[in-house]
């Protein structure tokens, strides 16, 4: 189908539209369903974008960092820390390695033990923060070398608990994308059903038009315009309500965890605006093919 044909089909023609009797109630249903679908699509889109952001953030923040924990008797702690730092500095792929100061360790423990912790009196392990370079280091080799130089060192490269989180966020994004596709498919199916119903309800009209010399494009156009504009308007209302709903969600905050990061960010706000034209395109294609099928059965 050429763009000219599409333009002709969509060009408003008040008089031509009158050849199809007004449909009242079913028109409201089409509006409602396309609005509801667009509303759901906004949330699926928000979920997909937010879970995408989450997966990326977890993957990048945690991938570059690792922690070395040195559990040793108090008299050996300093020596092992030095030995471990030496090993780390000689390891290719380690960008930097730094022993945490006492104050930093106290800050880390404060949430659990309160601010008055006499850390000096406790056998707290020494933590070393490792920032990975590009390319990364060989974790297994590093563990072997550390076990020789600093037997109390335990390497925690965060991968263990990073992967399930990133996996979860990625599956969430996948599910949201599938939902968007399903919503699109359901819209197409619904519009096809509505268009078929309208076409068979108006079978007499179509037959008369054909008999007096109407071309298929003229007849199909009357139906295609109707359903395309209904889907467009319904989806526009649905998207507006959906975006208002997303706006009203609480802002991202530490306390709310990842659940509060569900909205759109930056250019993400433009994406839901694509839903009405896409819905209209789906309705156009569905009605056009339904009309073609019906017309083919007529002489």
């Amino acid at each position: 189908m050429s763009t000219g044909t599409i333009r002709n089909l969509l060009r408003g023609d008040k008089r031509a539209d009158r050849v199809v009797p007004p449909s009242g109630f079913t028109a409201q249903l089409t509006l409602f369903v396309s609005g509801a679908m667009a509303f759901l699509a906004v949330f699926a889109l928000a979920l997909s974008l937010a879970s995408g952001r989450l997966a990326d953030r977890w993957a990048s923040e945690l991938a570059r960092a690792a922690t070395l924990r040195i559990n040793a008797p108090t008299d050996q702690l300093a020596g092992q820390t030095q030995a471990a730092l030496t090993v780390l500095r000689q390891t290719p792929g380690v960008a930097s390695a730094r022993a945490l100061t006492t104050e930093e360790q106290v800050a880390l423990l404060t949430p659990w033990f309160g601010p008055d912790l006499p850390i000096d009196a406790l056998p707290v392990p020494q933590l070393i923060e490792i920032i990975e370079g590009e390319p990364g280091y060989d974790a297994a080799g590093l563990r072997l070398r550390l076990s020789a130089e600093a037997p109390g060192a335990v390497l925690d490269d965060h991968t263990r608990w990073r992967e399930p989180l990133v996996d979860a966020a990625s599956s969430l994004r996948r599910l949201a994308l599938i939902s968007i596709l399903l919503i699109g498919g359901a819209t197409a199916a619904m519009i096809t059903l509505a268009a078929n119903a309208a076409l068979s309800a108006n079978a007499q009209v179509i037959e008369v038009l054909r008999l007096i010399g109407a071309r298929d494009q003229f007849i199909a156009g009357a139906f295609v315009r109707r359903f395309t504009f209904r889907a467009l308007i319904g989806a526009a209302i649905g998207v507006m309500l959906g975006m208002a709903g997303v706006l009203l969600l609480p802002d991202a905050s530490e306390a709310g965890g990842f659940l509060t990061g569900l909205g759109f960010q930056g250019t993400g706000w433009v994406l839901p605006l694509l839903i009405p034209p896409l819905g209209a395109a789906v309705a156009f294609a569905a009605t056009w093919s339904a009309a073609r099928r019906t017309l083919k059965e007529l002489a």
């Binding site: 050849v19 009797p21 008369v208 038009l209 008999l211 007096i212 010399g213 071309r215 298929d216 002489a299």
Partner: protein
């Protein structure tokens, strides 16, 4: 204008028409008669492409009907005015719009044709009923409106299927006069009817030929009607 050569039409195993041959010359006036169910309507439908022949060759304005695509068929139908047996109106639109419908579907400018439409409604005596919906019209009014719609595109051929089927004698005379006027204006006219008195009445006013369908064949009826 319409050339029918050895045309047959069968459906679902039954043969309705076979070996039908006739030529309708421009400006001619033909009646098509025969008993009910003999295939009059079918033959007319073949002439305006609502049905396609299952045998033989049928051409209208020199175009083989079986070779036309859907758009070409639509364009061809604009040159043939048809008065259907059941009129075929769009019940949700007023009479004037129904009469002007062929202009609308061929996307002609309605402004330019407005005067034409008024004249045409006057010609069929329906000026005062322009705003009525088709279901509000009497049988005779419907038939006249159907005739007006059939000729609004000023077609070369006018085909009427039992145009006097549901109207009284006076009204059928009135419709006949309209059809004869059209013929005098140069239109080719083909009327299917089983009303022999209508044919007799016409014969005194116009040179009409009578085609009769009998036993699936088409014969040229003699002057003995």
């Amino acid at each position: 204008m319409i050339e029918i050569e050895n045309v047959g039409y069968s459906y679902g195993g039954g043969e309705l028409l076979s070996d039908v041959s006739v030529q309708l010359a421009p400006g001619s006036f033909h009646f098509l008669t025969g008993p009910s169910g003999s295939g009059k309507t079918t033959l007319l439908k073949l002439c305006y492409g609502a049905l396609l022949p299952t045998a033989g060759q049928l051409s209208v304005f020199g175009e083989d009907m079986r070779r036309l695509d859907r758009d070409q068929m639509a364009l061809l139908r604009r040159r043939i005015g048809v008065v259907h047996q059941d009129c075929r109106f769009l019940d949700h639109m007023p009479l004037a719009d129904n009469v002007a419908l062929p202009l609308l579907v061929s996307q002609r400018s309605m402004k330019a044709e407005e005067a034409n439409l008024g004249e045409l409604l006057q010609w069929v005596g329906l000026s005062k009923r322009a705003d009525a919906r088709p279901p509000e019209l009497s049988g005779g009014e419907r038939q006249r409106a159907a005739l007006a719609r059939a000729v609004i595109m000023s077609p070369d051929v006018v085909i009427a299927d039992e145009p006097t089927g549901n109207v009284d004698w006076d009204m059928s005379q009135r419709l006949l006069r309209l059809l004869i006027e059209l013929n005098r204006m140069g239109k080719t006219v083909l009327i299917a009817t089983h009303d022999l008195s209508l044919i007799r009445a016409a014969k005194s006013q116009v040179q009409a030929r009578v085609l009769r369908i009998s036993k699936r064949r088409l014969q040229l009826a003699g002057a003995d009607l």
